[in-house]
Amino acid sequence: MDHTRPDRDAYLSKIADFIGSQPYVPAVGIDALKRSSLTQELGITSLGAIALVASYINSRGLSDSDLNPEWVPSLYEVDGLVAVFREIDTLANRAVAV
């Protein structure tokens, strides 16, 4: 889904760094992220993935209410996580611009 996006590796690196700063999900390296297609393969549970996204939202200055439940199904996949992080960045940048 996201393999062809030029910024995919940059996002995987960003996600690996962010995961490393969160105590409730196991640390994963960029190589593991590149190799995996499912977040479950990285030891990240479905609730853990939601918690990760919630933390990222807060780190970008957004609020819990910006967490869209429609994102939840895509968090099973690494590329879905990338897409959600990208969308959060877009939302955060838009909020700053406003």
């Binding site: 479905s46 609730l47 918690a51 919630a54 819990d64 967490l67 429609e70 939840v72 199904p73």
Partner: protein, 301 residues
């Protein structure tokens, strides 16, 4: 409000079927799309909750107390209307559990309960429920199990042995001692077949019913009706949400102040029953009229 709930009452034939078999369903509560949407919402609420009933990440009990989607679910008229046909007008929800079954997970072994051991499994034998008097209705305890994902045979659907609620085949008061070896008897890490009253009796030789359900459908059953589940041989996780109901004359967690299971222990300070229909005429239990978030629970007149 009674009119809108009365339309969900069971028919006489359905009531007879429940009395005969000990379970009834499936009934449709949500469309598959709606069910999946609601579960996604519930998961977000679970993660973001500032008022969790307990800190356990393993014991997923009672999230109806802090997730609005689940707080609303337990008193849906489609559920409560049917419960009233079997339990009379006064009904409370005492517990909820989430039952995930991951791809590759084994089935849950046959089991039969009525008083529910406080810790659900293990060496704990204290009953969670005490029935203080006979009910004038068909039953004073029912579990409603709602599928929030597909729960067909391959995903690990629930299974029942019809009519087994009429007799005890297991002794639920004995402790569970052994860690599971025979996977087909697996009851959350313990071998429930140890509790059989007659070693020669083989539940697998009985005719069983596979309760296949789509997301948004539910089944109602007596915990005393022997039940279990199939293994999940699909590549999709199965999610069931059990909401458990009793009459107000049942006392919950009498003398029990914590639950211990899977090496975790949770304090029951948060605990309280929730009226979903009628009135608490006995006053035996701690009650919540609102969730820990302040969501006002709905009790049908």
């Amino acid at each position: 409000m009674s009119n809108s709930i009365d339309q969900h009452a069971l028919t006489p034939a359905q009531i007879e079927s429940f009395k005969e078999n000990g379970f009834l369903g499936p009934f449709t509560l949500y469309s598959p799309q709606e069910a999946i949407k609601r579960w996604n919402q519930a998961k977000v609420e679970m993660v973001l909750s500032k008022n969790k009933p307990h800190d356990s990440k393993i014991l997923n009990y009672d999230r109806h107390l802090d997730c609005n989607t689940l707080s609303e679910h337990i008193s849906r008229p489609e559920i409560v209307g049917k419960l009233r046909s079997l339990m009379g007008p006064d009904i409370m929800c005492w517990k909820t559990n989430i039952f995930p079954k991951y791809p590759g997970d084994e089935g849950t072994g046959w089991h039969q309960v009525e008083t529910f051991r406080a810790g659900q499994t293990g060496t704990e034998t204290r009953p969670a429920l005490k029935y203080t008097e006979q009910t004038a209705h068909i039953t004073s305890e029912i579990t409603v199990w709602t599928a929030f994902t597909p729960a067909r045979r391959e995903h690990g659907c629930m299974t029942f042995i019809p009519g087994t609620h009429k007799k005890w085949y297991y002794d639920e008061t004995r402790p569970l001692k052994s860690a599971i070896e025979a996977k087909r008897h697996d009851f959350f890490g313990y071998d429930y077949s140890e509790l059989k009253l007659d070693d020669r009796w083989d539940p697998d030789s009985q005719e069983s019913f596979k309760m296949e359900m789509e997301p948004g459908q539910f089944v109602m059953f007596l915990a005393k009706c022997i039940h279990g589940s199939m293994p999940n041989v699909s590549d999709q996780m199965r999610i069931g949400y059990a909401s458990r109901y009793i009459s107000p004359m049942v006392k919950v967690y009498d003398g029990v102040d914590h639950l211990a299971q899977y090496g975790e222990k949770i304090n029951l300070d948060y605990f309280g029953c929730v009226m979903v229909s009628g009135q608490d005429t006995r006053g035996l239990n701690r009650m919540h009229t609102a969730s820990l978030n302040g969501y006002a629970f709905n009790a049908w007149d």
